[in-house]
């Protein structure tokens, strides 16, 4: 046994990393994990903070908000209020994972198992990532974005570009296509296309056109038609294509922000699954490593200690409670699926007739590939996990004086809890539903947005500030209306404020 031991010290070295990686990779392949090639980079704590503040992107354009993020992280870290994450992993091909040099050997092994095999295989397998991101092109695109924005700064001034980016950032969550797959990116094509777009737009500005007499159209014919014909939910796309006053470079910047939002969109929808999957695999892989005698008792104890910290779920009345820990929920569900496959109880056979007793590797792989958080919870949250986590739902209705406990972990509550939790991960209900309803393109070019209320949830205070940003992008009056559930339409705000 002891001859197989890879190392017994907490110091790591590059040769050791390679040996651990080789063993973990072998076991992962045995379990059928399909991954991109790995590129593992060792960095310092300070570089980790850099990576943090650029939302994990290996290269990003310059913007003050990243500086703010960096300053915050640095403060928290220096005061010891926060440990840095052990790793950051980037959805690219090859998959880039950062290891921090301060980690012990055990932690490095954990991170390799977690990021390089867990997250990596998730990025490669999950349908959202496959459909919405192009792992092989993202680095090139980021490079293009960085250079392009730097170029704009040179040409139009840092401040102009910065203010414009502020406005785009405030609408970033509304720059996502939810139903249509974006075309894959490549830097070469992208640059070429950008130049073509710019040249074409420039070509359009031809003064001759203005001299052609306009055909008289009857005014009332157009009034009944709205533009856009259907409400548009991708605000940034709408602005990029239709904002009347934007210059070509500004449209390109809108596009860059939109593309980045699109790239991060799957991550926002698969947090529980992604972390749960990676946590499940680092747990499984390292335990296997231990069983085969490659690591020592000390190693596995140190590993279990940090693993337990990661998946700790404080109860709702704990001072440490800050919502449901995605690692805890994800890990519990992944383990539970394996349990249902391997040792199903009668309850499981009743709830999950399809998967009870099936091959767990295949079932887990299927779950990983074809779901997002919302549907994953709706499909796989078992009564046992609800009982283990003691989940309960609280109804908070501003029309009533008191809160009501609507369901707890009992026979009558399982379905309700499951539904509520799935809803909780539904981005559609978490973010206000705001769409471009109408643009008066024959009149004063003002734009009307409609916020369709869901469960009577109103907009937060900062919405008026967002309208200011939107006004900067659109260039004409921007109006916000609320559509109540009973169909009543109410005026909510305007920028610039009307008289």
């Amino acid at each position: 046994m002891t001859q197989r031991l890879i190392s017994d010290s907490s110091e790591w070295t590059f040769p050791l990393l390679e040996r651990y990686n080789a063993e973990i990779g072998r076991i992962a392949a045995d379990f059928g994990l399909d991954t991109y090639a790995n590129q593992i980079e060792v960095i310092t704590a300070e570089q980790m903070m850099d990576a943090y503040s650029s939302i994990g992107m290996p290269l990003g354009y310059k913007h003050w908000s990243y500086g703010k993020q960096f300053v915050t992280t640095e403060q928290h870290y220096k005061r010891g209020q926060m440990g840095l994450a052990y790793e950051i992993v980037i959805n690219s091909d090859p998959c880039i994972a950062y290891l921090m040099e301060e980690n012990t050997m055990t932690m490095q092994a954990l991170v390799i198992a977690h990021a390089c095999y867990g997250h990596n295989s998730f990025f490669k397998g999950n349908y959202l990532f496959r459909a919405w991101t192009s792992a092989d092109a993202i680095i090139d695109y980021l490079l293009f974005a960085k250079n392009y924005i730097a170029q704009c700064e040179e040409r139009y001034g840092e401040e102009t570009v910065e203010l414009f980016l502020d406005s785009c950032h405030s609408l970033m969550n509304y720059g996502v296509d939810r139903y249509k797959r974006p075309a894959p990116l490549s830097m070469q094509e992208e640059r070429q296309r950008q130049e073509e777009r710019e040249a074409y737009l420039q070509y359009q500005i031809n003064d001759l056109w203005r001299t052609i007499p306009l055909k008289e159209t009857s005014a009332d014919a157009g009034d009944s038609q709205r533009f856009p014909a259907e409400p548009q939910e991708n605000l940034l796309y709408f602005i990029e294509k239709h904002a009347p006053l934007l210059e070509p470079w500004q449209r390109e910047v809108v596009r860059i922000v939109r593309k980045l939002a699109q790239y991060f969109y799957p991550q926002r929808q698969t947090q529980v699954m992604n972390e749960g999957w990676a946590t499940f695999w680092h747990y499984t892989l390292l335990n296997k490593l231990y069983e085969e005698g490659f690591v020592s008792d000390g190693f596995i104890i140190e590993f279990l200690q940090s693993h337990t910290n990661v998946i700790y779920q404080p109860p709702y009345n704990s001072p440490y409670y800050s919502g449901i820990n995605p690692y805890a929920l994800g890990f519990a569900m992944m383990c539970d699926i394996r349990r249902i496959c391997e040792n199903p109880t009668d309850e499981d056979r009743y709830w999950f007739p399809d998967i009870a007793g099936s091959d767990w590797i295949k079932t887990l792989d299927f779950a990983m590939r074809n779901f997002k958080d919302e549907s994953f919870v709706a499909q796989f949250l078992s009564p046992k996990v609800i009982r283990d986590l003691k989940l309960f739902t609280v109804l908070d209705d501003d029309a009533r004086d008191q809160l009501e406990i609507t369901a707890i972990h009992d026979e009558w509550g399982y379905r309700h809890v499951r539904q509520a939790l799935a809803d909780h991960y539904n981005l559609g209900s978490r973010e206000p539903n705001i769409q471009v309803y109408n643009v008066e393109y024959r009149g004063n070019r003002s734009m009307t947005l409609r916020h369709t209320l869901y469960n009577r949830k109103p907009l937060g205070e900062s919405s008026n500030d967002v309208l200011k940003h939107l006004h900067r992008l659109w260039g004409f009056t921007v109006r916000l209306e609320a559509v109540h559930e009973n169909g009543k339409i109410e005026f909510r705000g305007e920028c610039p404020p009307g008289r």
Partner: protein, 423 residues
């Protein structure tokens, strides 16, 4: 195949640009923080970083989000006492267990101030800003203590560009001699023997052949001693020596009669600080002497200097006399560089001004490196100014100026900085 890449050697300041932009954007808030810090700090302590806070709402990035209200169902873990249908009073405030904290908490993280640390350079940059210092001066002031690299013998380790060739070859020669010594000795012997043998026999003699062989062998051994070895290498050793600096004393003179209000004192404080920073840059040890005066002068500590008030008339010469006495008693010109900065609103007892001039010209100015005087008043000059004009004519190291705002301070020191920047 997986690739391991060691990125630690890459630059770590990837975010430096973003940080700069962040600071630029919130300059107005930061400047206010710096101004506050300046009031709270001692002159001698101005040279550090500063922790500043910005109200969080000023730097929030707005997004569309849900506000409180409406109907929402929230899910929590760790149920202990609830059963379905329980009614609970709505918790007030954001107690964590309450509803509404779940989602709203993500968007706006409370109204805590955003606190962060300005580095020393950033602090000074902001501090100097409205003083309108030329850049050269700014960098000079911000620079930390200077070192001079001096030769300190030789060492056996170092970088290739520092190799001392002569030394290394000398060492190599000595080593070659030493290592070849046994062979050379035997070689000389063998050669002598061979010569002796050749006298008697001819070249085919087996003894001669054996000796010839030995000689060839010895020569080969000597040749095999390496010409130069890493062991021989000597590097010029250089060490960082702090620039020899001397000591300086700085006198701060201020009129504290009733007419000097808080705004004027703040201005005076900046004036004194600038001189202090300049001195700190040039001298290793600085002492600061605070003298305040109305009709009588008194040596005080900084706290009292800026913050206590007394009323009375104004006799400037009292301060000058005291300063002269202190110089004579404690700061011999042979070992101290003496600087002085005087701030006043220009008011002086009429008959005192000529005596001020006399004391300055005859007794003080000869031992001064620099004497800067500012008159903080928008009004026209009074008698003191006229008397000081004479001093200015007599001594180039005397500078004076009437100032109205912080931007007027620097010109007082212009000569001083110019001189220093040139050397």
């Amino acid at each position: 195949m997986p690739t391991f890449i060691d990125r630690r050697i890459d630059g770590k300041n990837k975010s430096a640009v973003n940080r700069q932009r962040f600071i630029r954007r919130f300059k107005s808030q930061l400047k206010k923080a710096v101004a506050d810090a300046m009031n709270g700090r001692s002159i001698t302590d101005m040279d550090n970083g500063e922790k500043v806070s910005i109200p969080a709402r000023d730097l929030s990035e707005p997004v569309f989000s849900h506000g409180p209200g409406g109907r929402r169902e929230i899910i929590h873990p760790g149920n202990q006492e609830f059963v379905t249908g329980d009614k609970v009073p709505r918790p007030t405030g954001g107690g964590g267990s309450g509803s509404g904290s779940g989602q709203a908490g993500n968007s706006g993280s409370g109204d805590d101030d955003f606190i962060f640390q300005l580095s020393r350079e950033e602090f000074l940059e902001l501090f100097f800003e409205d003083l309108e210092l030329p850049n050269l001066v700014k960098t000079q002031l911000a620079k930390a203590q200077e070192f001079k690299s001096v030769r300190a013998g030789y060492s056996s380790e170092g970088v290739p560009c520092n190799i001392d060739i002569v030394r290394s070859l000398k060492g190599a020669l000595a080593r070659r001699k030493a290592m070849a010594a046994p062979y050379s000795m035997r070689l000389r012997e063998a050669e002598r023997e061979l010569d002796a043998l050749l006298e008697e026999t001819d070249e085919t003699d087996p003894q001669v052949i054996a000796l010839q062989k030995e000689i060839d062998h010895l020569r080969a051994r000597i040749r095999a001693v390496p010409f130069i070895d890493t062991f021989d290498l000597r590097y010029s050793n250089r060490i960082q020596q702090p620039q020899p600096t001397t000591q300086a004393v700085m006198f701060c003179l201020m009129d504290v009669s009733g007419s000097m209000d808080k705004a004027r004192k703040d201005l005076a404080k900046r004036f004194f600080t600038l001189l202090y920073l300049f001195l700190k840059r040039n001298y290793e040890r600085i002492e600061v002497v605070f003298i305040r005066h109305h009709t009588i002068a008194k040596e005080v500590d900084e706290e009292e200097f800026f913050y206590s008030r007394e009323t009375g008339g104004t006799v400037v010469s009292s301060a000058l006399t005291l300063m002269r006495d202190i110089i004579n008693a404690r700061y011999p010109t042979s070992s101290w560089n003496i600087y002085a900065a005087q701030a006043s609103d220009g008011d002086n007892w009429h008959h005192d001004s000529p005596s001020c001039r006399d004391i300055l010209i005859k007794q003080i100015m000869p031992s001064m490196r620099y004497f800067a005087y500012i008159e903080i008043t928008p009004d026209r000059h009074q008698s003191l100014w006229e008397s000081y004009e004479d001093v200015k004519k007599a001594y180039p190291q005397f500078a004076m100026r009437q100032i109205d705002g912080p931007a007027d301070i620097y010109p007082v020191f212009r000569e001083l900085f110019k001189r220093r920047a040139a050397t």
